[in-house]
Subunit: 342 residues, 2 copies
């Protein structure tokens, strides 16, 4: 299993700052999570069933009912290789490492965004896997380009797998509304935009046969009753969604400005995080940690196998409140390599 | 996937009785579920981590820390065949059908409780799987007999897999405290005794190597944050547990008396349900349903393959309150084939 979590605990020990003294920007999760309503006891008590409105709320939110609820993207990522046949697999890299881990038995090839390698991957692969927008690079593929890639793959019986974990602030970029056609699998999750990473709820959009095989592989009752209840409410709450989209978009722009103003260049990434490649990543990570601010460090270490390394870089999540923003700005001004003119 | 759930909905349609008009005794779930405390927003928000006290609370409750939290027994049942090697697999039958379904690729053999077939299974199998107490038959194996079976299996490098989903009212019968030794896997769940079937929380007790492989197969974050919170509270609440054990034991005895008094013989089964083999099962099921009481019918149909059928029988869960008890008694008196003398 790849390592996840525990970073905040380790940082707390290493820097001698208690857990509750940290500004944790190490995830890309919306810091203002959906305010989950009270959970009826029946949701805890009874086995979860399909007639509770979750599928219908999801179909409206995502624009397609060719969906299967799953316990977050992770089990779908792990189960897809058993369901999608094909020898030659190409993955966007560097990217979210769980995809490469899931397909490791198929000895995947790699491509790095647009370019000749991507076009070759599309024309020679049985399966192409990418994250849109990418994590951590933030790369955003044009929707029409992805539709072209899908068409070329599907024509040969191939598959395009698109993990859209961070796409909710730009729903117009999503391929989920196209779901159901052969050769397309889209993964969505309530973890990031809705801030419900602990709930373990996501959806696979795919043709019926793929959904059936995934459902068989993952088994019954994969999403807990309380999580189904919370997710149904979140997916139906269009007022909260609109307000969150505005708030996150504003926050993402502010974060990009703040990093730029601190002399750190122009970061990429969706509203929920900003990504900053810099050879000084480790030093900056350390300097911020001394201020009790944890960001996600990619130190450039090759992950092993043929998988390309994420270049030395930092990923910043959004501060939860004005105090957090001020604290980040102050720390950046104190430790950034140079300051731009105000 | 095997069929689960939906029975109440179908009965409501078939008998023209609205959903909320039913006394649903078709499950073996404690009708007085653990009163889950409020869930902190952080449990919804953050990815679940291992340091929240769940493992420690479980180790105290079950008497062993050789455990892995899983999202109910079901994913463990499905994942075990990939982890436990061995060609010859023997399963208790008839029993909970998901075990047979999980091992179907290994063409399992069957044994029917104590007897020559069971002893042969132990001495010739690589893996023996049973449910203790059994569902639906209620068969309870002597603990010492199971320890003897385990020893004989382990000596040859074999495995005994014991699903203890319904054992919580008789914890002294559990093999979980022995966990960690080679050749033993025990499954526990919070679904039945704690009445938290919707939470999807269970535990696998097994040697470290088996737990590692299961964890790798099931992936990270399998139990949701809110469910971890609820389960930690339930497992630590010894006062509630004691009261529930008393209440369920009393309820189980009352249910057995009531069925006997209605001329239906002496049912078997643990406190949480009573099982009644009878050639009139289908008729009784229908008669009770006309009173708006749903019990679980096993109609004797062979499930296919070589799997032995559950004989024609009914499984009764416990009514939730005195009104439910009275309603059940009244209905039984109106539809049972004959009445015993009072």
């Amino acid at each position: 299993m790849l390592e996840h979590g525990g970073r905040l605990r380790r940082a707390a020990q290493q820097y001698g700052i208690p857990l509750d003294g940290w500004l944790d920007l190490s995830t890309g999760i919306n810091p203002s999570a959906y305010p989950v309503p009270g959970i009826p006891l029946s949701a805890w008590h009874r086995l979860p069933e399909d007639d509770d409105g979750l599928e219908a709320a999801a179909a409206r939110y995502y624009g397609s009912d060719a969906l299967l609820p799953v316990a977050g993207s992770q089990p779908a990522i792990q189960a897809l290789p058993a369901v999608l046949p094909g020898k030659r697999v190409s993955l966007l890299a560097p990217s979210y490492a769980e995809h490469a881990h899931a397909w490791r038995g198929r000895e995947p090839h790699w491509f790095g965004g647009y370019g000749a390698a991507a076009e070759t991957a599309v024309d020679t692969s049985d399966i192409v896997v990418l994250v849109q927008p990418d994590n951590p690079s933030g790369q955003l593929f044009e929707r029409n380009r992805l539709l072209d890639w899908h068409a070329r793959l599907a024509r040969r019986g191939g598959w395009l797998v698109v993990d859209e974990a961070f796409i909710d602030t730009m729903p117009e970029a999503s391929l989920a509304p196209e779901a159901g056609i052969d050769g397309l699998v889209v993964l969505r999750s309530l973890g990031k935009f809705f801030g419900l990473a602990g709930a373990r709820v996501g959806f696979v959009f795919a043709p019926a046969a793929v959904r059936r095989q995934l459902a068989e592989a993952l088994g019954p009752w994969t999403v807990s009753g309380p999580a189904r209840h919370a997710a149904s409410a979140a997916l139906a709450d269009t007022a909260w969604q609109a307000q969150a989209r505005t708030r996150l978009t504003t926050g993402g722009e502010r974060l990009a400005r703040l990093l730029h103003a601190a002399g750190l260049g122009r970061p990429s990434g969706p509203s929920l995080f900003k990504w900053l490649p810099t050879p000084l990543a480790a030093d900056l990570h350390d300097a911020l940690a001394r201020h009790g601010i944890l960001v996600r460090l990619f130190d450039g270490t090759p992950p092993g196998g043929a998988l390309p390394a994420v270049p030395p870089s930092l990923r910043f999540g959004l501060p939860p409140d004005e105090t957090g923003w001020q604290r980040l700005e102050h720390a950046l001004n104190g430790c950034a390599p140079e300051r731009s003119a105000p």
